[in-house]
């Protein structure tokens, strides 16, 4: 282990005072270093309310091949015209949202009548969901309504979401909904 400035100062204190009896100018060990001086900064947008504050996410490492990034700090983007670096308590704690131990990390399924989750692989989950969609759509599809008008809708399914996801996701979601003909759809905009 190398002798850092900090430990050097400490060692100096003890040595000095033992040697001299007492020491007049106690060594001042360096306090916390500025902890984000070499982190990687990524500009992002707070995911909570619609003020859309700019945030800067500080991740460990400089993106070198051998460094694994993790979020060590989140701070407001001082350039952002709206928040000018400020954040509310939710925005100020985004690090704890990103690094939250309660985040879901693997797909799970709860089977009919069961009282617990079971693990499932992504491939199986996707395949089973696709099968469900196909079965439901095939069964419920309304090509023509009671008046004989072509409506091409699939009332067997409902789909909601998107208000905390990107515009691009929302657009893809709308295409998905259009492809499957889902009429029952809504978003947080309503509620």
């Amino acid at each position: 282990m190398g002798l850092t400035r900090r430990t050097f100062l400490k060692a100096g204190t003890v040595g000095g005072s033992l040697a001299l009896g007492f020491d007049l100018h106690e060594a001042r060990a360096e306090m916390r270093e500025f902890k984000i001086s070499r982190t990687t900064e990524t500009r992002s947008t707070c995911p909570y309310c619609a003020v859309s504050c700019g945030v800067i996410i500080h991740t460990l490492g400089d993106k070198a091949k051998n460094a694994t990034a993790s979020v060590v700090h989140v701070e407001g983007d001082p350039d952002h015209p709206i928040n000018r670096g400020t954040l509310c308590p939710k925005g100020a704690t985004l690090r704890d949202d990103i690094n939250n131990p309660n985040r879901l990390t693997s797909p799970k399924v709860r089977r009919a009548g069961s009282d617990k989750w079971e693990a499932i692989s992504w491939d199986d989950a996707i395949a089973q969901i696709a099968k469900h969609i196909k079965t439901t759509r095939d069964k419920c599809f309304v090509e023509k309504n009671a008046k004989g008008q072509v409506v091409n809708r699939n009332p067997g399914m409902a789909m909601i979401g998107g208000c905390t996801d990107t515009n691009e996701f929302n657009y893809l979601q709308w295409k998905f909904i259009t492809a499957l003909g889902i009429p029952y759809r809504d978003s947080q905009a309503r509620v």
Binding site: L24, R28, S37, T86, L87, P89, T93
Partner: protein, 294 residues
């Protein structure tokens, strides 16, 4: 912080004082405008996030205030107060934290050399390496700020983000504050800003508005705009804070007098010996017959 980068103006329990004066740096200060604080607590958690202080466990007991007082792991607390005055309702909120006094009672009371330092820019900081956790600073502080951390056995409080300000950044709480009721800059600028706001408030009907910068502790590096400065206690602030008399007497009078007294006792004993010598038993102790007559 080494003297090279941030001179130390005062240091606790320092025999000869600390070397400073080579550089001229402005005193920095934090400005708190209670009249535009919405009590959102962003400052509370921005502080915790920057300083890597883990969340504490709290319970809802019928108030928006996170906890009753500051904590060694919670250096920044919004105090809430609902108050009805002359039929009008006020919901007062004030950011409670270390005031960074120009004459810090904590530093005065601190017995550990270099455990509490005042940097040339006015920031008062607990140097964790030197702190011995005696808690004298709790008695020295007129604002009830420093707290004992059970895990480290040391005292902890707001550092005015000295690690940020020493590289030219505002403290984490100030940066976060959504409404801008917090500001950071030189003390001079913050006092000017405060006066401006106080004038605005006075014009707006708050005739008793004033800037809280108590001179009893030499002024503070945290200046607070109070719309009702005639009642600082509504905000949880002492009316006329000063370094406790007991602490002053103790450090400035009792301690030197005591030192002299002890030294005096020693000198007196030596003097006595030179003057009177020992009270010797005369003759041979073995012989009863030789016992001196008394």
């Amino acid at each position: 912080m080494s003297v090279q980068s941030l001179e130390i103006r005062r240091s606790s329990a320092s025999v000869w004082g600390s070397p400073s004066g080579m550089r001229s740096v402005p005193t920095v200060a934090k400005y708190i405008d209670t009249s535009t604080c919405i009590g959102c607590k962003a400052c509370e958690v921005a502080c915790q996030e920057w300083n890597d202080l883990p969340p504490l466990s709290t319970q809802q007991v019928g108030t928006y205030q996170t906890m009753p007082t500051l904590d060694a792991g919670f250096w920044n607390l919004i105090r809430f107060d609902e108050r009805e005055v002359e039929g009008g309702l006020m919901w007062l909120m004030r950011k409670d934290q270390c005031m960074h006094c120009a004459e810090p009672g904590c530093l005065e009371a601190c017995p550990a050399p270099g455990a509490i330092v005042q940097y040339a820019n006015g920031i008062v900081d607990v140097n964790q390496d030197n702190c011995i956790g005696c808690g004298y600073c709790e008695t020295g502080c007129p604002f009830d700020v420093p707290k004992f951390h059970a895990k480290t056995g040391k005292m902890a409080k707001c550092t005015l983000c000295v690690d940020r300000s020493s590289v030219g950044l505002e403290p984490a709480c100030v940066k976060a504050c959504p409404t801008g009721c917090l500001h950071f800059g030189t003390k001079e600028d913050m006092v000017a800003l405060g006066s401006l706001r106080v004038d605005q408030l006075k014009k707006g009907g708050f005739t008793t508005a004033a800037l809280y910068d108590p001179q009893g502790v030499g002024g503070t590096s945290v200046v607070t705009v109070l719309a009702h400065a005639d009642h600082p206690e509504w905000y949880g602030l002492p009316r006329d804070p000063h370094v406790p008399l007991g602490v002053r007497f103790w450090k400035n009078i009792l301690r030197p007098v005591g030192l002299l007294a002890i030294a005096g006792a020693f000198v007196a004993a030596v003097g006595h010996y030179f003057n009177f010598g020992a009270k010797q038993v005369q003759g041979s102790a073995d012989s009863e017959t030789n016992l001196p007559q008394v």
